[in-house]
Symmetry: none
Subunit: 209 residues, 2 copies
C-alpha cells in the first residue's frame, strides 16, 4: 500500500488502479487519521471542488505526517500550484494524468524530487528570479560572514531565538550575541527581524539604503 488517493469521488479509480495495481487505496475526503495506518508513501490529493484553505490545510496535515503529497487538479493554475507546493506538496499534476505519467511522478517524488507541469517550471523560475532582487551577487553580502556567523544568521532566518541557536550550536547564549552584533554590522541591519528578512531577500525599511 504505497499510494493513497484522496478524492471526493472515485471516478478515476480505474485509472489509478491501472497505474499502481494492487498498491493503492482510495479514500473520500475526510480526516487523515487512518493514513497513519495506511503506510502510504505518497498521498495524492484531488482538489476538485474543494475550498482552497481547507484543502491546503489537509495538505499541510499530510505533509506534517511525513507523507509526500502530490496535488491533482482538474484546472491547473499557476498561483494554485505555488500555494500547494509552498504548503509542502512535492507534486502538482493534472487530475486526469495518464497512468504512465502517474508512475513517472511517483518515481520522481519517491526519490526526493519535485514534479510539476513543465510550463509551470519555467514560470516558477522566471518569477523567482524576479523575486530575488539580487541580480548579480548572491543573497545579501553573505560572503562577508564567517562560517560560524553564517550558521547563526541562517538560524535567525528561520525564526530561532538566541537560546535555541546557542543550544543548537552548543555554545553560550553570550557567544551567539557576539556573533549577532558582528552580523548586524556586516549586513547593515539593526536587529534580528531585519536580519531574518534580509536573509530571505525581503526588503525592509532599512534595507532601502
Amino acid at each position: 500500500m504505497r499510494q493513497l488517493f484522496v478524492a471526493r469521488d472515485g471516478k478515476l479509480r480505474g485509472r489509478w488502479e491501472k497505474a499502481f495495481p494492487g498498491a493503492l487505496a482510495v479514500r473520500q475526503v475526510g480526516d487523515l487519521a487512518p493514513l497513519v495506518v495506511a503506510e502510504a508513501q505518497i498521498v495524492w490529493m484531488d482538489n476538485t471542488g474543494r475550498d482552497s484553505a481547507d484543502f491546503l490545510a489537509g495538505v499541510r496535515e499530510a505533509v506534517g505526517c511525513g507523507y509526500r503529497v502530490v496535488v491533482m487538479t482538474p484546472t491547473p493554475s499557476e498561483a494554485d500550484a505555488f500555494r500547494a507546493l509552498s504548503t509542502g506538496a512535492v507534486g502538482y499534476c493534472h487530475l486526469e494524468s495518464a497512468p504512465e505519467q502517474l508512475r513517472e511522478i511517483a518515481l520522481v517524488v519517491e526519490h526526493g524530487g519535485l514534479w510539476m507541469l513543465p510550463e509551470l517550471v519555467q514560470r516558477l523560475m522566471a518569477l523567482s528570479l524576479r523575486a530575488v532582487p539580487t541580480p548579480a551577487a548572491g543573497p545579501p553580502q553573505l560572503n562577508d560572514l564567517t562560517p560560524r556567523e553564517l550558521m547563526v544568521a541562517e538560524r535567525v532566518a528561520h525564526g530561532a531565538s538566541n537560546r535555541e541557536i546557542a543550544e543548537d550550536l552548543d555554545i553560550t547564549e553570550r557567544t551567539v550575541k557576539a556573533h549577532m552584533s558582528i552580523i548586524f554590522e556586516k549586513l547593515g541591519v539593526r536587529d534580528r527581524v531585519q536580519l531574518a528578512l534580509a536573509m530571505n531577500n525581503i526588503p525592509t525599511y532599512a534595507t532601502v539604503n
Copy 2:
C-alpha cells in the same frame, strides 16, 4: 554512457564512477561540441571557481542541445540555484553529494522531475508566492486579523519596530503591543521575527506545527 560530468578537475571522479559504474565520462571545462557525440542523457556541471555568466552560458548551451543539466556546486546559494534552474537546469545539488544521492537525482531528473536541495524548495515556493499577485486567499490566515491588526502585522513584516509602527499609525506603543499579542495568538507565532517570516510565507521552526 549516460552520465557526463563536466568539471575543472577530476578530484571527485572516483565518487562519480562509484555512482554510475561504467556509464560516465568526465570532461574538462571546454566546448560542448563533443557532447552531441557522447549521447549523454544527463550532464552534470560543476560550477566551482567558474564565472557565473560563463557557467550559465554553458548550461544554456547544454540545455539547448536537449540534455538534462544538473548543476553541482561546492557552495549552494539560493540566488545561484534559481539562476541555474531558470537557465534550464533541472537539478541543483551539492558538489560532494554521495553516490547514492547522485543516483537518486539522476532518477528524478530522468523522469522529468526537478531536484534541488530541500531547503531551497521551500524558499523557492515562498518567493514565488510573493511574486504572484496572490489572487484569492492570502498567505497565512490573515483573514482572521482585523483591519488594524493587519496594518500592524504588515509593518512588522517589513522590519518595523513597535515605536515606528506606533508613530506611523499615530497610536501609542502600548497599543501596538496590544495588537501584537493578539496577532501572535491568532497566527500561532511566538514573536515578531516569526510573524515577519510568516507574513512573507517563509516557514519557521514553529510554523511546522
